[in-house]
C-alpha cells in the first residue's frame, strides 16, 4: 500500500468496505439499468431492422450483433478477473475477491453464448453445427478455463483460501490465453479445414458497425449490473453475521 498516496488508499478502503459498497451498488443499479436500455434498444433496432442484409450471408449475419460482443465480453471479463485476482493477492482486498468470483459465472455465460451463437451462425454458412475454426476453438478452451475457476472455488471449503486459489488461477490463465490463442491460430492454418471462416473481419458497413458498437456497450453495462447483483449476494454469504447485514435485515423487516 505504501506507494499509493494516503487519501486515495483511504478512499479505496472506505469504498471497499462491504456495507459502503452494498449501498453504493444499490444507488448505481437504477442508473445502470437506464443506461443499459438506452444502449440496448437502439442497438437491437439498428441491428435487426435498420441495417441492410449482407449481400453474401443474407439476414443470418445479424447474429453478429450478439456473437461478437459476447466473444469480446468473454475475453474482457477474464482479463478483468485476472486484474482483480492480482489486486486481491497483492493488497488483500476482500472486495476484489468478491468481484472476481462474482464475475466468473457471467463470463462463462458470455462464453457459452459466443459458442452457441457461433454454432448457430455456422450451420447455414458451413452446413454443419461445429467446425474447428480458430475462434470457436479458442472460445471453447476459454469456457474450460472459466469452468476451472468456478469449480475450484466451489471445491475449497474455506472461502478465503478459495478466493486466493482462484486469484492465482485467473492470473495463470490470463498469461496463457495469448499463448493458447496463438497456438490455436497456428494449428488452424496447419490443418486448414474445408471451409474458409466467414466470421473473420467482414468489411463492415457503417450502418452495421454502429449497432454492433451499441450492443457491445449494452453488454458491458449488463455485465456491470449483473456483477453488482452477484457481488451483493456474495458479500452477505461471506459474513452473514456481520453488523451491517443485521442492519440490513432490520431495514427489510
Amino acid at each position: 500500500m505504501s506507494f499509493i498516496p494516503a487519501p486515495i488508499s483511504r478512499f479505496f478502503h472506505r469504498t471497499a468496505s462491504p456495507p459502503h459498497f452494498y449501498t453504493l451498488a444499490d444507488k448505481l443499479l437504477p442508473w445502470l439499468t437506464v443506461l443499459f436500455l438506452l444502449l440496448l434498444i437502439p442497438g437491437l433496432y439498428g441491428g435487426l431492422v435498420m441495417a441492410p442484409a449482407d449481400y453474401q450471408q443474407g439476414d443470418s449475419y445479424r447474429i453478429i450483433y450478439i456473437h461478437v460482443p459476447a466473444a469480446w465480453m468473454s475475453l474482457f471479463i477474464y482479463v478483468l478477473m485476472a486484474v482483480m485476482g492480482g489486486i486481491a493477492l497483492v493488497w488483500r482486498m476482500k472486495l476484489a475477491e468478491v468481484m472476481l468470483i462474482s464475475s466468473a459465472p457471467i463470463g462463462a455465460g458470455f462464453t457459452l453464448v459466443a459458442l452457441v451463437t457461433g454454432s448457430l451462425w455456422g450451420k447455414p454458412m458451413w452446413g454443419t453445427w461445429w467446425v474447428w475454426d480458430a475462434r470457436l476453438t479458442s472460445e471453447l478452451i476459454l469456457l474450460f478455463l472459466y469452468l476451472g475457476v468456478t469449480s475450484l472455488y466451489g471445491a475449497i471449503e474455506d472461502k478465503r483460501s478459495a478466493a486466493r486459489a482462484v486469484s492465482i488461477l485467473a492470473l495463470v490463465g490470463v498469461v496463457n490465453i495469448p499463448i493458447i490463442h496463438y497456438s490455436v491460430e497456428w494449428w488452424n492454418t496447419l490443418h486448414q479445414g474445408p471451409t474458409v471462416s466467414k466470421m473473420d473481419k467482414p468489411s463492415i458497413h457503417i450502418s452495421m458497425l454502429i449497432p454492433l458498437l451499441l450492443m457491445a456497450g449494452a453488454f458491458k453495462v449488463y455485465y456491470a449490473i449483473a456483477v453488482l447483483q452477484a457481488a451483493k449476494l456474495e458479500l452477505i454469504k461471506r459474513e452473514p453475521s456481520a453488523q451491517w447485514v443485521k442492519n440490513l435485515l432490520e431495514q427489510n423487516a
Binding site: 451462425w121 449488463y222 452477484a230 447485514v245 443485521k246 427489510n252
Partner: protein, 54 residues
C-alpha cells in the same frame, strides 16, 4: 418492411431467433439467479435472527 418479413429473417429465422433467445435466457439467468438467491438468504438469516432472539 413488413412485420412478417422481419420475423422471417430472409429464411434464417430459426438461426437468428434461436441465437437471440438463448442469449436472452443466459443473460436473464445470470442476472436474476443472484437476486433470487439473495432474497432467500436474507429470509433465512432473518428467521435465524428471530429464533436467536426468542
Amino acid at each position: 418492411m413488413s412485420l412478417e418479413n422481419f420475423f422471417a429473417m430472409g429464411g434464417y429465422a430459426f438461426y437468428v431467433w434461436t441465437s437471440y433467445g438463448i442469449t436472452l435466457a443466459v443473460l436473464l439467468w445470470n442476472l436474476f439467479a443472484p437476486i433470487v438467491q439473495r432474497k432467500q438468504l436474507l429470509r433465512q438469516l432473518a428467521l435465524k435472527q428471530k429464533r436467536a432472539q426468542q
